[in-house]
Every structure is written in structure tokens, then in C-alpha cells.
């Protein structure tokens, strides 16, 4: 877990990720074109791909340089990154492209409407909760293999940070809106606050204060923007 991928493997993973992304995009476009539907301008797609290539390549190049403080060399992409990205990809696929994903969004948006249109709401709920615990198990295994030890109170404090991360990323607490990538970005924000404030050497209480403030702001933005959306419709 604390290991790193060898340099070439980082590049290989980046290449695979970009290829899959491009292929999925082209597949969607061809399906839409075949059925006579409008497509987004192709230049937008190339811009997106280009930006991801630049960002991904600079990250891999940065991580492949030696970052050790001592004689032993440490370099390479940490092994969690490809694992987390794979889970993110599979989860997004599940939410965006399967019947289950559509039903999940429908139930989140309006359970009564979903029930009346014949969605088995209880089943969707149970599967969602089971998926949630399975992914939580993966997170626990990540943590266990990073720390290498476990204490009796493990995982007690992290739920609220998790909810905070999802809300900060733009997943609506009122349901039916949000994607997995939003939660991932939100988690990065929370972790950067944690990391940066830790480096500044401030007392630990400040950390909770700032994280809590960010969560309040995110929840307010969520509530206000929801009000605005429902007003504009």
C-alpha cells in the first residue's frame, strides 16, 4: 500500500486511462450520430482530452522524480492512485450507464414518483446501502494497509469528514444530484486543509474549526442553489 508503482507502470496506467476515456467518448458520439441525435462540438471533446493528458502527464512526471530525503530512492505513483481511480471509473459507469444508476437517481429525486413509475424503491435502497458498506470496507482496507495497525476506535471520526467531503464536492444532501467525481474532489479539499494546516503547526482544534466552517459553507451553498433551481423551474 505504501509502495509505489515503477515509473513505466505509471505511464502505462495513464495511457490506458486516456485511451478508455477517448474510446468511451467516441462510442457515445457514434451511437448518438447513428440515432440522429445532436452531438456536442468535437472541439470540446478534444479540449477535455487534451487537458486531462496535460494534467495526468505532469502528475506522473512529478511523482516519478525522486522524492526521498535520504540515500534510498523513493519515486513512482503511489499504488492507491490507480486503485482509487479504477473504483471511481467503475462506480461512475454504474451510476451513469446502467439501469440501476438511473433508478438510483430517480429514487433520490422523488421517491414517490419513482415508485409510481414502477421502480422497486426498497430494492434500490438496499442495494445502495450494500454498495456503500462495500466501498466503506475498501476505505478501511486502504487505511489499514497505510497505517499497518488498528485501534478500537478506528473509523469513528471519519464518517463526518466523509459526508463533509461529499457535500463540499457538490453532492446534494437533498438527494438526486451529484456524481462520484464530485465526492473525490471534495475529499481532496478536506485532505488539503488537513495536510496544510498540519504543516503550519497550528493546534489541532483549528483544523476542526476550518473543516467545520467549510462544511457549513458547502451546506449553505447546497441549500441556496437548490432553492434557486426550484425557483427557476
Amino acid at each position: 500500500m505504501n509502495d509505489n508503482l515503477p515509473g513505466w507502470m505509471g505511464w502505462a496506467f495513464l495511457a490506458i486511462a486516456i485511451t478508455v476515456m477517448a474510446l468511451l467518448n467516441f462510442y457515445d458520439r457514434s451511437v448518438r450520430a447513428r440515432n440522429g441525435l445532436a452531438n456536442r462540438p468535437i472541439s470540446l471533446m478534444y479540449t477535455k482530452l487534451g487537458v486531462s493528458i496535460v494534467i495526468g502527464a505532469s502528475l506522473v512526471a512529478l511523482l516519478n522524480t525522486n522524492r526521498s530525503q535520504s540515500i534510498k530512492e523513493i519515486s513512482g505513483v503511489p499504488i492507491v492512485v490507480p486503485i482509487a481511480l479504477t473504483v471511481l471509473f467503475l462506480g461512475t459507469l454504474l451510476l451513469d450507464r446502467t439501469r440501476f444508476g438511473r433508478h438510483l437517481y430517480a429514487v433520490g429525486g422523488n421517491p414517490e414518483a419513482a415508485r409510481r413509475s414502477g421502480i422497486k424503491v426498497v430494492k434500490i435502497r438496499i442495494i445502495a446501502f450494500m454498495l456503500c458498506s462495500s466501498l466503506a470496507v475498501i476505505s478501511g482496507i486502504f487505511n489499514a494497509s497505510r497505517v499497518g495497525a488498528v485501534e478500537a476506535t478506528a473509523g469513528k471520526a471519519i464518517v463526518l469528514s466523509g459526508v463533509a467531503a461529499a457535500v463540499v464536492g457538490g453532492v446534494s444532501l437533498f438527494g438526486g444530484r451529484g456524481r462520484l467525481i464530485h465526492a473525490a474532489v471534495g475529499a481532496l479539499v478536506i485532505a488539503i486543509i488537513d495536510n496544510g494546516l498540519g504543516l503550519l503547526g497550528l493546534p489541532a482544534g483549528i483544523n476542526f474549526l476550518v473543516t467545520g466552517g467549510v462544511l457549513i459553507m458547502a451546506a449553505t451553498v447546497d441549500a441556496v442553489s437548490r432553492k434557486r433551481t426550484s425557483a427557476s423551474r
Binding site: 505504501n2 445532436a38 445502495a128 450494500m130 456503500c132 458498506s133 473509523g155 475529499a187
Partner: protein
């Protein structure tokens, strides 16, 4: 000027950008605030502490984030339903303990340990499924000895509080 975009796929680049701006203004911001705050925080901490932008700290940050990121992604499935799973953290704690004990104390292969953790998490959640399907009252419906000994004072209606009606939760509500 407002551009209406039917499915979100029509129009040239300029019209798409206008539609995106309109959506952001209308409240559908998505991850925009968090991406912006990510940039702001990066510049802020980089200005305050020279060590923040080194590769070492960056790699460290990624490994630190992974746990939280996975948990947040787990919670998305539940938050999308406008619910919250307060037990997710403890589930990850249980998985942590199980994984460490299996690999370190019992010296089982780590792949099997991960599989066991996943099965354990799903199984633990399927208790909820059983209770949902059978009704919470199914625990009491077996009518154990002390409850069956409670005398019934009135004849006629049998739905007293101790005599639990024999119907499943499915009859009461379809979506709760």
C-alpha cells in the same frame, strides 16, 4: 440572452459555454466551488509553507486522501437517496480490524483477507435487508413463552400491543 439547450448536446462551442454559465447561475454548480477552493487552498498553503509543494508532501497527500476519498465515494450512493449512513465509518473500522487481524495474527493471504472484508461488509448490511423484507416485528413474531403467557383480557379484537399483527412491512409502505 438565454439559450435553451434541449438535451445539453446541441449548439456550437459558444452556445454550450453560455448554457453552462446559465446553469451555474441557476444553481447547478456541480464541483465548481470545490475545484476553485482546491486552487485557492493550494496557492495559500504553498505561500505559507515552502514544504507544501514538494513531491514528497504531494505523494503523502495522495495516500492520505485515499481513505477519505473512498469513504466519500461510498457515501455518495446513500446521499443520492437523501439519506445518510452513519455506520459507514464504523464499517470501515471493522474492515480495518478484520484485515489487520487476518493478515497479521492469523497470517492469511492478503487477497483472501480483502475478499473476506468485502463479504463481511455486504453481509452485515444485508441484515438490514432481512429486517426490511420480514419486518422489524419478525423478531417478536416467533411468540416466545413469556409473551404467549400474557393473558388477553378482552375478547373480540386481537390486535393488542403485545399480540403483534401478522403482516409484513411490505403491506404498510412500499418505499420506506
Amino acid at each position: 440572452m438565454s439559450v435553451t439547450i434541449g438535451s445539453g448536446h446541441e449548439g456550437n462551442v459558444r452556445e454550450q459555454l453560455t448554457a453552462y454559465k446559465a446553469r451555474v447561475k441557476g444553481g447547478e454548480m456541480g464541483a465548481l466551488p470545490s475545484v476553485l477552493s482546491l486552487f485557492v487552498l493550494t496557492f495559500l498553503f504553498a505561500a505559507l509553507n515552502p514544504y507544501f509543494l514538494t513531491q514528497g508532501n504531494f505523494a503523502n497527500l495522495l495516500t492520505q486522501t485515499a481513505t477519505l476519498m473512498m469513504l466519500a465515494m461510498a457515501l455518495v450512493f446513500v446521499i443520492l437517496l437523501a439519506e445518510i449512513d452513519l455506520s459507514a465509518g464504523v464499517t470501515s473500522g471493522v474492515a480495518m480490524a478484520l484485515f489487520i487481524i487476518m493478515t497479521n495474527r492469523w497470517e492469511i493471504d492478503w487477497r483472501i483477507s480483502i475478499l473476506a472484508g468485502l463479504i463481511c461488509g455486504a453481509a452485515y448490511r444485508s441484515i438490514y435487508w432481512v429486517l426490511r423484507r420480514q419486518g422489524w416485528r419478525s423478531i417478536l413474531r416467533c411468540n416466545p413463552w413469556p409473551i404467549s403467557r400474557v393473558p388477553r383480557f378482552t375478547a373480540g379484537t386481537s390486535r393488542r400491543w403485545w399480540y403483534l399483527p401478522n403482516r409484513s412491512s411490505r403491506d404498510q409502505s412500499d418505499y420506506e
